[in-house]
Assembly symmetry: C2
Homo-oligomer: 80 residues x 2
DNA sequence: AATGATTTACTGCTAAAGCAGTAATATGAA
DNA sequence: TTCATATTACTGCTTTAGCAGTAAATCATT
């Protein structure tokens, strides 16, 4: 089974799983309903803090991943 | 050693590692220099697509993590 | 079918993101 | 020191995100 990569699909999927309507989600997140609609429609020009409010309700975390940071993690537990 | 969690610090750290000035990073990302300054100053009200342009230059990926998605991943490779 | 909730799709309006330009400092190397 | 680059910190200005309100359309349940 394919894992959704698009933010829009991820949001929608979590909202459905939480059995929330878009209006309900917007209210819980403390944002306008329009943004929730827009994001699920694939709009990428959302403000990060607004997005974070929505993600918080849905229990989604943002992980910043890069080769550089993975190298740091690897070097934390070296073997002799 | 502590891993930076703040977006601002992550950006700065990667920019330094790439030996780029803020203006250079802004130019490479195709955004104004002001945004790069603002982000590194901790501003959270950035547009997602603007942020993505910067992250792309620095080779940083965004991972959306949640218990729900981890369950899906686990159920992909079941053991008999 | 009928009722209610949800979704989609508009509308102006306001607040703010993003921009280039400028300038003052800070930093750093020759 | 001197010269160049980088950083910080301001400007207005334009674009647009986000908002509530409204209404039509779709969906679901009885």
């Amino acid at each position: 089974m394919e894992q959704p990569q698009e933010l829009a699909q991820i949001i929608r999927m979590h909202r459905k799983a939480a059995r929330l309507s878009r209006v309900q989600l917007a209210e819980l997140a403390g944002v306008g309903k329009t943004v929730v609609f827009d994001i699920e429609m694939g709009k990428e020009s959302v403000k990060l803090d607004t997005l974070r409010k929505i993600l918080k309700v849905l229990n989604i975390k943002i992980i910043w991943k890069s080769p550089l940071m993975e190298n740091l993690q690897n070097s934390e537990n070296e073997k002799s």
